[in-house]
Every structure is written in C-alpha cells, then in structure tokens.
Symmetry: C2
Subunit: 286 residues, 2 copies
C-alpha cells in the first residue's frame, strides 16, 4: 500500500520517510542551463525526459522530491502534462512530492489552488505544497483545513535567505493578536497553532538554510518539532553537516533540500551523487 493513501497525518508520513531514507529532499528545477549540461535541447519533451530521469535516480535512495513548478509552467499546458507525469510516477514510487508553487490568494481562489495541489484525484495531486502569506496567514486557513482532511502538508513561507526578503519578513506587526511580532514569527506561530488545534501535523514553514533566525526575532525553541522545508543546502552554501547546529530544535523534522549540487552531476553522475548526498544528510541528522 502506498504511503499516500494512508490516513496518517503528514507529520507521520514525514517521520516514516526520515527513518527510511533520512532528511534529503531532491529539488527538481528543470532549468534550461541544466538541459545543456545533460545534452538536451530546450523543449517541453526534454522537460519531461529530464525530470523523469532525475526521479528514476531518486527511487529507492531518497523519500522526498520538490519540483519547482515555475520551470514546468514556462511550457504552458505541455509543461503541466510533464509535471503531472513526474508527480504521478513519484507518488507511485512511494516518494513524497512537495509541489513548490508558493501560491497565495484569498477565499475560493485559494481553495482552488489547494484543491489543485492537495485534493485526491486532482491531476496535479501532490503530498504537500508551498504557500505564500502576503494576503495574511488567515487567507491560508482553508488550505490548511483541506490539507488536514486529505492527510497532506502545507509549507508556508516564513524566513527566506535572499537578502531582499529581510525587509519584508522582519517587519513588525502593529494590528491584531500578533502585534509586536515579526511577520516570520507570526507565520510560524500561526502554523503551530493550527497544528495544535488539529492534533495533527499539517503545516510547516519554509526557512532558508543560510538564514539567521535572530534577524527575524524568532526563538527556535518555541517551534521545536515543526516541519521545516529548508532550501539552500549544497550549491547555495549551507553544509548538511551543519544542519543540527543551524536549526537546533528545528532539526527534528528538517527537510534538507538540495537542487543544483545534485542536478549538476549530469546523467552519468547523478546516481552516485544522490547516494553520497543522501548519506551525508542522513549521517548529519541521525
């Protein structure tokens, strides 16, 4: 039986994957510069071949992939057909799929996005999605509820490592229950409050691996055990060996995402690279 038809909550599915494969998540960003390195031209057929070859290299070695939706959307409906094939084949292979879509909208529009990425039977049904809170964390409440009902996960953007983000994510709230808190902290508090009320682990947050949480007035102890999706390992500078030091009490359900450090290995090196990187990450967070 697939992990995905299980009634277990998303946190349990994550824990099962961590036990079996460790904490590595392979980012699948089909960037045109990589096609060249892989000996492909830049076309929607390449997109599908490339992403399925990366997936094949993941099967049996890692338990999580994170396709970057933008690089599929670039090819319109043909790109989405390639994404559907990738997601479907990954989930059939017992790999959890985190759709990196960063969707954020209100009301019935956000519900439509949640149905797209999280509802059973949707062509793009994944195991979790990323979401953006600029319209207020409350605008993502329905998304968390849909995820809860479907045993799926939602990772809300909290503190990212790009320098231009700090101005926004460290801004101080002046109205409502979170007055005095930074945006990043209020997102984390809201997600944890949802999980506590639910009794299930449904929500997590996105925190860049090279982020210093003190810049966002976040005390990691307050959020121990919540799922963290962390891009920025490998090519972008963070070393998985430092994961426990960097994330402290957040290391328990840390998803260590590597993308270029794996994809740049090319078709001949990717199998070996995934084995090596997965081993390093498993060792670091054992």
């Amino acid at each position: 039986m697939s992990t995905h038809s299980s009634p277990e909550d998303f946190g349990n599915q994550l824990d099962t994957v961590f036990d079996r494969f460790g904490h590595l998540c392979v980012g699948i960003d089909p960037h045109p510069y990589l096609f060249d390195r892989w000996g492909y031209d830049d076309s929607s057929r390449t997109l599908s071949e490339f992403s399925l070859r990366v997936l094949d290299a993941c099967v049996g070695k890692v338990g999580l992939i994170k396709p970057q939706v933008a690089f599929f959307e670039r090819w319109g409906s043909a790109g989405y057909a390639a994404l559907e094939r990738l997601i479907h084949r990954a989930r059939e292979s017992n790999i959890l799929v985190i759709a990196d879509a960063k969707r954020g909208d209100i009301g019935s529009t956000m519900q439509a996005y949640a149905q797209t990425w999280l509802s059973s039977g949707s062509p793009l049904e994944s195991d979790a999605m990323t979401a953006s809170p600029y319209l207020g964390l409350g605008s993502l409440e329905d998304t968390l509820r849909i995820a809860e009902a479907q045993s799926k996960g939602v990772f809300v953007l909290a503190a990212t490592s790009n320098p231009e983000a700090r101005e926004v994510q460290s801004a101080i709230i002046e109205h409502g229950d979170n007055t005095g808190s930074t945006l990043a902290r209020s997102v984390m508090r809201g997600v944890v409050a949802f999980n506590q009320a639910s009794g299930k682990i449904v929500g997590g947050v996105v925190i860049g691996a090279t982020v210093d949480l003190r810049d966002f007035a976040v005390d990691a102890d307050e959020f121990a055990g919540m799922p963290i999706l962390a891009p920025g390992f490998g090519f972008q500078g963070a070393d998985p060996k430092d994961a426990r030091r960097l994330f402290g009490p957040l290391a328990q359900r840390l998803i260590v995402t590597e993308t270029r450090s794996i994809l740049e290995a090319g078709p001949d090196g990717i199998n070996e690279t995934i084995i090596r990187r997965a081993g390093l990450v498993a060792e670091a967070l054992r």
Copy 2:
C-alpha cells in the same frame, strides 16, 4: 495592427484602452458554482466553453480581462490548454489580458514565471501579470525588467481588502531604505521608483476597492497616475460610481475589476450586463 505588438509601454496601452472602452476589466473566474448557473457540468471542456463565451461577450465592449489562473490550474494541463486558448483569442481580439497569477519567488525561478506570463511567444503570454512581494520587492526586480523589455505590465500586491491581510500589509519595516514605512507603502514606492528610473509605466499595484489606504499609512497623492488594479467592485461591495471618491489621484489609471456581478448574469444576460456595467464605469471615470 494589434495593441500587443506595439512598442508602446504598458501605460500607453492602458490609456488607449481607457479612452476607447473605459476602465472596466472583466474578471474571468470559472468557478464551479457558476457552471451550474450557466447550465454546464464541472469539467475541463466546460472550463474552455465558459471562458470563451465570457470572452465573446467582452469583445468590442471592454478592453481588459483578468483570468484567475487558479480556476484553470485546478484542471492541470487540460485547464492550462483552456487558458492558453482564452488568452490567445482575447489578445487577437485586441483585449489586454492581465493574468491573475500572484506569483512570487526568487532569482531564476521568478524569471521563469515572468517568462511564462510576459515573454513573447510563451504559450501563456499575456499583457500583464500579478505578483506577490513576500520575498521582498527586490525579488521582483527582474520581473519588472522583463516586463519593461517586452512592453508588458506587472501588478504587485500592495493592500488587499480581505480582513486577514491588514496584519501583514500594514506591518512596519525595520531594516533598510524603507524603515518606518508599511509594507503596502514600500511596495508602492518601489514600483513607482522603477517606473521613474525606466521612464516608462511598467509596474502598478493591486489595491482592493474597499480598502481604506489610511489603514496602511499610504497617502494617495504620492502615487498619482500609477496603474491600480482594483478588485472588489460590483458583487464584493464597492460601487463604480464611488471610484473617483475612493481612489482620488489614483483614479487616473484605475482598473475597475468586476467578476461575479457580470458572470452571474448567465449566458442570456451577460451581453447586456457587460454593456451596462461598462457604461457605468466609463461614466464614473470619464
């Protein structure tokens, strides 16, 4: 010659549309509850038929449509094929298309989104897109540059009318050049600064029609003439008659978006409804 192959900047394209058709933009949100009202079942074929029928009713009466991407994405690749047909046919009919996608990401990922929605020859090429600034307005700089080079527009989320948004969008920046400003105001300042440096009108912002800008410490006089995409007219409560009073110096390039008030008219009433609403909006902002 189509408006879209013109080298004119986006602001000029908008002004041409305003002169000819007034300021109404028809939101195309193919929500399942509307299919029922239109006598359709809920399928991807319906999605295409519904959206093209709405478009047909717009041709010659309004100059702007705003398809809500979420309701197409819900059907995966089949939904995107329907969206491609809608966008293509609208642009062939000299209607400007604002893709309401609210995308927001960093670096080459955000570039891929900008190429998707704004680049000449992309399957989803539109005339403008909406974007989300949670990752910092700086993360949208490349998007504005791509828009500038392609004579397209970008509407960045600033102040929206859903109650849960205020906490985020009125938060106060504590670091960098915009220290002391609300997020909404810093977004508006950043977009205006881009336009000024460019010498073209490339960027605008999304402001809900029922928003009181004082809640976001925004003085409209500072931003006179910038393009404003304003959902919330019609069904959601704002009356186009009040547009000039509500938006003051921002009324010059105000895009009055109505969705349900038009779509709920059904197949028999939509032609007449669009004529009536377009007339009201033209009258209010003459």
